[in-house]
Amino acid sequence: MDIRADGLTAASAEAAATGSPPAVAAVGVTKRFAGGVVANDRVSFEARRGEVHALLGENGAGKTTLCNILTGMYRPDEGEVRVDGKPIRLHSPHEAQAAGIFMVHQHLSLVDSLTVAENIVLGWSRQGGLGFSSRTVEAEIDEIASRYQMAVDPRARIWQLSLGERQRVDILKALYRGASILILDEPTTVLTPSEIEQLFSSVREMVAGGRTVIFISHKLPEVFAIANRTTILRRGRSMSTLEIGETDARQLARLMVGHEMALDVPRRASTEAAAPAAEPRPVLELDAVSVQGDFGTQALREVSLTVRAGEVLGIAGVSGNGQRELAEVIAGLRPATGGAIRVDGEKLVSGDARDAIRRGVAYIPEDRMGTGVSPNLSVAENLILKSYRHDSPHAGPVLLMRQAEAQATALMARFDIRAPGPRTLVRQLSGGNVQKVVLARELSSDPRLVVAASPTRGLDVGATEYVRSVLLDAARRGAGVLLISEDLDEIIELSNRIAVLYGGRVVGVMDSADATYEHLGMLMAGAAS
């Protein structure tokens, strides 16, 4: 693009579309993290004045890292950020804000006990003066709020507001402080459908006034509803930038999840011998299960699923679409608001983890260090975390640690847990070994059902292979396995059947052999009917 200095002054929405430099641009941005992860690999994109530019990509595609670079949170290892065509070095969010770049994060940063107006001016002082007239500020906020149809009472305290209203406050804060480039990080996850509509009309108002909105999302319908152009990121690279009017869901989905080696992924359904003639009986049945999320939103909506003995059912989907709640409701860690869950034909007590454990539900949680283990306890103690209650050596009030340690030594050998001994504290182990402790505990009890949530996330290649083989082995021995993962390769490689979650609903179930990346990608992005 031709960058002309004279375009800097009179930049209107029309002019932006034609000749003036983009409002903000990333040019060849590379960001590496410790451990060799390249979160952004020569990413380039530019957003024009007066447009909604969507950044589209799966989890881990590099969207958030890119935005953290645009807002001065990270510094790029290579490449540069340009604002209005001029290279700019941002050393802090403050400098980015001075350049007009603001970001509204998924996790809002508001002080609960202060009013809307106080939150908006908190830590912000206009040139000159420490004074703060709440009446003036409130009037100004009212003015901005009504211009962008974001009704909120400036005198209300944050704790009194709904999540959608709180988000509005965060956006108002950016506008009040003079944002010309506003980055919205997955803003619709916490909103109800009508709130989403409201947000979109506010966003349209903003870009009509010449601002730039960068809209991070993985949901295609929203991108089609609001964006003018979109840049697709995949595995840290910018794939391409497209005009929304000139593309379709199929193309975007392919760019988002497409995989160069799709044909090389070994598929279990085809590589393993066919299942026995008789249909194995179901170990897990979900019958129209509904669950509330952490913020009172509907996280699962009437989900029905079946996992049969010896089968791996993969749950594909972008995280935040109900996966965590699905795993937790089956494990009894979250009550169901409707429907029934049956294990081996018997109904589970809703929200009773002990009942689930008793009926043979093993759960490998996503947050292995925070939930899966008690980090300051020993390996042996973590291995009896669930069995101490009913296993014979521990039936009385006294725990027989010597027996537990002997058992632990055997399990450490069987599950290849590399630790100096059973008394080693779990927090001293590497991630892979922590996961092996979880696996050893969950799978050594011969469970009926294994719920595995992102079981290989963050593990090295060897540990990943090991975890996968242990899961397949559990299925081979007759357990049902529910595998929740954001890694499509993993889902396709391990599963017999695949179900896709989107917006808390199962939007498709298919045999793994019939699955294509493109089809899965469309389902995951909510683009399939």
């Binding site: 949170m73 949680p365 939930t371 980090p375 300051n376 306890l377 725990l399």
Partner: protein
């Protein structure tokens, strides 16, 4: 740029060396304070040592101060182990004293062993019930137990005052001549005196001996039982405890109850071992419940270490009273206690964290989606 980060591994030697080094630093810091206030630090330490341990009757006096601290220290150590912040040991001790005095007065004619046992039960039950109020509120209504247990200290203190000064209660002496001049509690009969264990010139209070037994039992409870296992898991990782199907609510109530029972026993010991009368003013001025928090913290919440620390703090308190006078103001003892606490907890913090100089490897905001990758 200076940043503080968690160090993951604590070497074993550090667990021993840290408190010792911290105490040494505390001695140096307190020495500076002493020197600045015109005392010779070494001579003062010598005096303190003598007044605490070697002078005539000093050791016995030290244990008189150590006994209530042992109980309130155990009370706090148990609760804080599970991250239940019971700072109501003070009020639970008052209630224990009320309970034990009431039982001792009511059952005055009973044979001594039975009477002592019933006083202990009375004190423990009263402390337990008092602690269960914040326990139940925390478990079922999610109120902050720090606030509720703290506020209940004042309620218990005023209740004690009411019983002795503002009412003709069962606890109040309304007959003797001196009580007509100034309100006071009824004295218990000699049968209700707890017998000390006499070793030469030294008398070990019965309560302290009982406290040592309890400390051992408590350690065994925490280390070797299912109950203690659940406590440790909940204290370390509430999410893991829920995940393993442990019932957190019931455990919170139970631990609060046990914790309050220990403080209540401390109150019973105040009546049986030392006071033989419910003395609201004396109990409230001593502030054993609050000092118990210091004791437990210095002992790093280990019950056996609480025994040792209670003796040390008891010794310091005793020395403070013994040396008290124009040359050695009582405030100096409090200052030294504060310096010791500050040094030990500071040392503990530095042991758990490392201070890094230079740029932090990644900003704190890194908790976004991409950081899920190693």
């Amino acid at each position: 740029m200076i940043s503080i980060e968690r160090s993951l591994v604590t070497p074993r030697w550090q667990r021993i060396a840290l408190p010792i080094a911290s105490l040494a630093i505390a001695a140096i810091l307190a020495g500076i304070v002493l020197a600045a206030s015109g005392h010779d630090p070494l001579a003062t330490y010598q005096q303190i040592y003598e007044a605490s341990f070697t002078s005539t009757g000093a050791l016995t006096a030290t244990f008189i101060y150590a006994t209530p601290l042992l109980f309130t220290g155990l009370c706090v150590a148990l609760a804080f182990r599970m991250r239940v912040w019971n700072i109501g040991g003070e009020g639970q001790l008052y209630m224990g004293a009320v309970g034990a005095a009431g039982v001792g007065l009511a059952l005055g004619g009973w044979p001594q062993p039975l009477l002592i046992a019933m006083m202990m039960v009375g004190g423990a039950v009263a402390g337990t019930l008092w602690a269960m109020i914040p326990g139940l509120l925390r478990a079922y209504l999610h109120t902050n137990e720090i606030l509720t247990s703290l506020m209940l200290n004042y309620v218990a203190g005023l209740l004690m005052y009411y019983l002795i000064y503002d009412s003709a209660s069962f606890w109040r002496d309304t007959t003797s001549a001196s009580a007509l001049v100034f309100p006071q509690g009824k004295y218990l009969l000699p049968a209700a005196d707890w017998p000390g264990i006499v070793i030469g010139s030294f008398t070990l209070p019965f309560g302290f001996a009982a406290g040592i037994v309890l400390a051992v039992l408590l350690l065994a409870l925490i280390r070797f039982t299912r109950f203690g296992f659940e406590m440790r898991v909940m204290g370390d990782s509430p999410a893991a405890a829920t995940y393993a199907g442990m019932s957190t609510r019931r455990k919170i109530v139970t631990v609060m109850a046990l914790s309050g029972g220990l403080a209540g026993l401390g109150g019973a010991s105040q009546i049986g071992d030392f006071g033989h009368v419910l003395d609201p003013r004396g109990l409230q001025q001593a502030g054993y419940g609050y000092t118990g928090i210091v004791v437990a913290a210095l002992a790093l919440y280990n019950p056996l270490a609480v025994v040792i620390v209670s003796i040390l703090i008891g010794a310091l308190t005793n020395a403070g009273f013994a040396l008290q006078g124009p040359l050695f103001p009582i405030g100096l003892v409090g200052t030294m206690e504060g310096i010791i606490l500050f040094s030990v907890l500071g040392g503990e913090f530095l042991g758990r964290y490392r201070i890094r100089f230079g740029r932090a490897p990644a900003p704190a905001i890194a908790a976004d989606e991409e950081s899920g990758i190693p």
